[in-house]
């Protein structure tokens, strides 16, 4: 990836700011998502809640399904590859989708290395639980970051934890004397060049969305008020009672995140949210956020 291409890819993410990216499993769902105001869709065979309950190895979706979703909408289409599976990424680049999510929601293909994203022209978004992970992914060529949260749970607690952790670490770095930076980078596994940029800007140099467990308009607004640039909603929409209405409400709550009256108005009578899962009830080895390093 040339430096110019990397900037263009980060700039596409800038145009998604303040928006909601929705997981969809069929062209029909993609059309609903576009119609209610999603800024992009994530094309998947199974939403994280189903991956979690059905188990087995989760891989890149069928290219035929991704193509059908691409044909159905004009908004950007994203799709997931397994961590480290650079051939799945090559396939998605050949499909000319708009963004690749190197995602912990799928079963990792490599437990040591993430994809070298600088070798691609297509943009990548990657998950992170903290500043170190975010900066390592940026150093590998990610043009967008999202908090991992705990996908498929309908429980926002991990997304909040990851965002607060990242913000706390950024504030620490921002106020740090420069001579302390090297030691901080060593302890946190932070790439120095990226850390320098974060320290100067007081935030990540790329767009940072929230993901993993967002199920209600209030959840989306919470993540925006915590400083995310936008939100991914996975299982929370099409696993709920009235997906179109809930999706529209989440879009509106994301735009008017600091206006409780508007969020109140869109939150009433939305029907059943997806059933949630308490994090402690998930065995440690089944926690998706632990995947990646």
């Amino acid at each position: 990836m040339t430096a110019e291409r990397l900037v263009l890819n980060a700039q596409l993410a800038q145009m998604l700011k303040g928006g909601v990216i929705m997981d969809v499993t069929t062209p029909e769902q993609a059309i609903i998502a576009e119609e209610v105001g999603a800024v992009a869709v994530m094309a998947l065979e199974r939403v994280p809640a189903d991956i979690r309950s059905e188990g087995g190895v989760a891989r890149m979706s069928d290219p035929g399904l991704i193509q059908a979703i691409q044909a159905a909408v004009s908004i950007p289409v994203m799709a997931k590859v397994r961590i480290g599976h650079f051939v799945e990424a090559q396939l998605l680049e050949a499909l000319k989708i708009d963004y690749i999510d190197e995602s912990e929601v799928l079963t990792p293909a490599d437990e040591e290395s993430h994809i070298d994203k600088t070798r691609f022209s297509i943009p990548f978004v990657c998950g992170a639980r903290n500043l170190g992970e975010a900066c390592r992914r940026i150093a590998e060529g990610a043009a967008m970051i999202r908090t991992k949260g705990e996908a498929g749970t309908g429980n926002v607690v991990e997304a909040v934890r990851h965002m607060r952790t990242m913000n706390r670490e950024i504030r620490t770095l921002h106020h740090m004397p420069r001579e302390e930076l090297t030691g901080f980078c060593k302890d946190q596994g932070l790439p120095y060049e990226v850390a320098l940029k974060v320290r100067e800007a007081g935030r990540l140099p790329v767009v940072n969305f929230a993901a993993g467990g967002i199920a209600t308009p209030a959840d989306a607004a919470l993540m925006i008020q915590l400083g995310c640039d936008g939100v991914f909603v996975g299982s929370g929409i099409f696993k709920s009672g009235d997906p179109a209405r809930r999706a529209a409400a989440i879009v509106q709550a994301t735009t008017y995140a600091d206006d409780p009256e508007k969020i109140l108005e869109v939150s009433a009578g939305l029907g059943e949210p997806m059933a949630g899962i308490e994090i402690p009830s998930i065995p440690k080895e089944a926690r998706l956020a632990e995947r990646g390093w």
Partner: protein
């Protein structure tokens, strides 16, 4: 004339426009509800996703505010998705605001792999060549009689204007050039500040200054300015 330029702040590239307006010393405001239109001279409709923006405009009645503003002399500038919102005709889709007599094709170049930069001369806007950033850009395919082209490339028009509205399918707010923001200020009748370029330290990620994390000292102070921490 108050000289305030608004940036429609529903979704998309809002802070990038605010940063450019600030670099020119122009008073600016985020516009998200009817009350925000009070005293505006111009309004920028930024890039983002046009379906998302059009749904929010309609849901909160801002489409009517924009149309009423235009009738009362408000100047409009749509970049990328903003240009799609303003078009009277959108290929294969229902038009949104439909305020300008142009036909556009959404996402006309292909996928993100087909996004690109060009540097071209736009004589009406600036004497020097200007960097232009096209991201999943639309094309303007047809101009009505009251609309004049500002930049034509190959088989399409990339920038155009009528008496009250400017449209660009590219993103001047993603480049260091202030030329189009200066041009729009002129269209709004705002006295032009002395000619100056973007800050010498402008980088592609300069927008981050306007999107700080919460509890950030600059956020508390209003978030403006390209401050540097001591260290």
């Amino acid at each position: 004339m108050s000289g305030i330029i608004g940036v429609l702040a529903l979704q998309g590239g809002v802070v990038e426009h605010l940063a450019h307006l600030a670099a020119l010393g122009l008073p600016a405001r985020r516009v998200r509800q009817a009350a925000d239109f009070e005293g505006l001279t111009g309004l920028i409709l930024p890039g983002g996703e046009s379906t998302c923006l059009s749904r929010l405009l309609r849901r909160y009645g801002l489409d009517r505010e924009i149309a009423a503003g235009l009738r009362a002399g408000l100047k409009l500038w749509g970049t990328c998705a903003g240009a799609i919102l303003l078009a009277r005709e959108v290929v294969g889709e229902t038009a949104s605001l439909g305020l300008m007599d142009i036909r556009v094709q959404r996402n006309a170049f292909g996928s993100q792999l087909d996004s690109f930069n060009r540097t071209l001369q736009v004589p009406a806007v600036a004497p020097e060549p200007i960097p232009l950033t096209f991201i999943r850009a639309p094309k303007i395919l047809h101009l009505g009689t009251a609309v004049s082209p500002l930049l034509e490339i190959d088989d399409y028009c990339a920038a155009a204007e009528d008496r009250d509205i400017l449209v660009t399918v590219f993103h001047p707010e993603l480049t260091p050039s202030l030329a189009f923001h200066r041009y729009f200020a002129g269209k709004c009748g705002i006295p032009l500040p002395p000619r100056e370029d973007a800050p010498a330290d402008w980088q592609a990620d300069s927008w981050v200054d306007y999107a700080p994390i919460p509890c950030h000292p600059r956020h508390a102070a209003g978030g403006a300015g390209r401050g540097r921490s001591a260290g």
